[in-house]
């Protein structure tokens, strides 16, 4: 659980994507204000990462609270990672992969697609609204689409506000 690099803290103005921080799990997000939400976005190396790059090249607007994590494939985003994202301070988690049929690994995005609805149902049982977790497809050339998907998701999450996960530390515990 290291500190967040200064470059990743939410700047006041919308970011121009182009350079994506390649990060690993383990950092804690810091809140900048009550209304500032963090959208953790997993982008696959072969399509959506390129889509984010294209969006930056087109100078399209993206919300400040988006955190990109590049993974090799959307199918690699295990349910544990998504829960860990919420636990680490994300208010929403978005998984972006190649369009069905375009997966670099042939079927990785189908695996991700099968996982999502089941996980979404479990998240609801834990009180995490359905709008906070989504999976979608963005190809490398679809800068516009990347911007649209991310902005729409961010606005949905912002409308819900910060996710108030319960702090599991007990007062008086010997741990």
């Amino acid at each position: 659980m290291g500190a967040v690099p200064a470059s990743l803290l939410a700047p006041a103005a919308p970011l121009r994507l182009g350079i994506s921080p390649i990060t690993n799990f383990g950092w804690r997000f810091r809140r900048c204000s009550v209304t500032d939400v963090k959208l953790l976005t997993f982008v696959c190396n072969w399509c959506s990462y390129g889509g984010a790059d294209t969006a930056g090249g087109l100078k399209l607007e993206c919300p400040p609270g988006v955190r990109l994590v590049r993974v090799m494939c959307s199918g690699r985003v295990d349910a544990q990672l998504i829960l860990e994202g919420f636990r680490s301070g994300a208010d929403g988690v978005l998984v972006l992969g190649c369009h069905p049929g375009d997966c670099h690994y042939k079927e990785g995005n189908y695996v991700a697609q099968k996982r999502a609805p089941l996980l979404a149902r479990m998240l609801e049982q834990f009180g995490i609204e359905r709008e906070r977790f989504r999976i979608d497809w963005v190809s490398a050339g679809e800068g516009e689409r990347f911007s649209k998907v991310v902005n729409a998701m961010y606005d949905n999450v912002a409308r819900l506000g910060p996710l108030e996960l319960v702090d599991r530390k007990v007062e008086g515990s010997m741990r």
Partner: protein, 338 residues
């Protein structure tokens, strides 16, 4: 001079008594255990008082086996007391280890539990609407009940735990080998789970019947069909938690033609058993389109209760979010939704 036998304590917290049952199920072997140790506390079987424990010196008890999750002041107090008086503390069974069945209460709230238990259950007659109070008077005498916490916690979220014996309940053979290891001092490093490190599928007698490419087209609950006693449950469309559950149980459920429900908790390297099971089970769905995937997910009646049956308190989320007051409507919504 007679050598002092090591002192042993058994205690139960939020649990059902099944773990005590498993100790009794050691049958004749329990006599050997009873010969080798001096039991100083075992509320389910013997009449000791808490002040007997308080009178002991710190670290006087060689080992305390504590089963059950932590939910009330009494459980919290006694487990802390036993931690202070014991050399070793062993979390005994699923509830102490990962939260267990009582941990499922974290998917609801204290308020809802009280409402159901004391007002709404069809079997409850409570015209006066009486609800237990922490402090009350009975015949003019003060009565104090332990406070009931908002959430359930595992034992190691409350006190320091040396070893874990998993299972709901832990099978007698596992208990005996663990107790023997403790008595002989042949213990692995602190914090170990005293059970094998493999996943259940690895040791399952039906392992060979699982195909390379399982495709579940319809999910059946165990009571809906008569399962083939030879074939892998997943192959038959019955959800089995073997892929992300630790082995060491002796496959008793599988041999009884029932799928694994995950009571041994996650194998090493897995933090969140439920999440891993979602990944494992969903990957077997026969679903190419989004609609088919949603239909398969819909067939899982209770995802959290199925995949997190024994592990809600120790999971990454830990409990359902308590609904707070709505956000002030000053959210920065100045951008048009794209």
């Amino acid at each position: 001079m007679i050598k002092q036998k090591p002192k042993v304590a058994f205690y139960w917290c939020a649990s059902c008594g099944g773990c005590e049952e498993t100790v009794v199920d050691l049958n004749a072997a329990i006599l050997d255990v009873a010969d080798a140790v001096d039991i100083v506390l075992w509320p389910v079987a013997l009449d000791f008082k808490y002040h007997h424990i308080e009178a002991l010196k710190d670290g006087d008890i060689a080992v305390s086996f504590i089963n059950g999750a932590i939910r009330t002041n009494e459980q919290a107090h006694i487990s802390k007391l036993l931690r202070q008086k014991s050399g070793l503390v062993v979390a005994f069974g699923s509830c102490a280890h990962t939260g267990g069945i009582p941990g499922l209460a974290n998917l609801t709230s204290r308020e809802e539990i009280f409402r159901t238990s004391f007002h709404e259950s069809p079997t409850v007659v409570n015209a006066s609407g009486t609800v237990p109070q922490e402090d009350s008077l009975a015949d003019g005498m003060p009565v104090r009940l332990p406070a009931f916490w908002e959430e359930v916690h595992t034992l190691d979220q409350w006190i320091d735990v040396d070893y874990y014996i998993p299972g709901c309940p832990p099978p007698p053979a596992l208990v005996l080998s663990a107790v023997t290891a403790i008595l002989e001092g042949k213990l692995p490093e602190k914090g170990s789970v005293l059970a094998p490190a493999k996943a259940l599928c690895d040791t399952c007698p039906r392992r060979k019947t699982k195909s390379e490419n399982t495709k579940i087209t319809k999910i059946h609950r165990p009571h809906e069909i008569i399962a083939d006693p030879e074939i892998c449950f997943l192959e038959q469309g019955i959800i089995c938690c073997g892929p992300a559950t630790r082995s060491g149980c002796g496959e008793v459920c599988i041999n009884g033609n029932m799928p694994c429900t995950g009571c041994f908790g996650p194998p090493p390297g897995v933090i969140d058993q439920g999440a891993k099971l979602i990944s494992a089970i969903s990957s077997l769905f026969n679903a190419k389109t989004k609609e088919e995937a949603m239909e398969m997910a819909r067939q899982v009646v209770d995802p959290a209760g199925t995949f997190h049956r024994y592990t809600v308190p120790s999971s990454l989320l830990g409990c359902r979010i308590h609904k707070k007051a709505a956000m002030p409507a000053d959210g920065r919504m100045d951008r048009e939704a794209a």
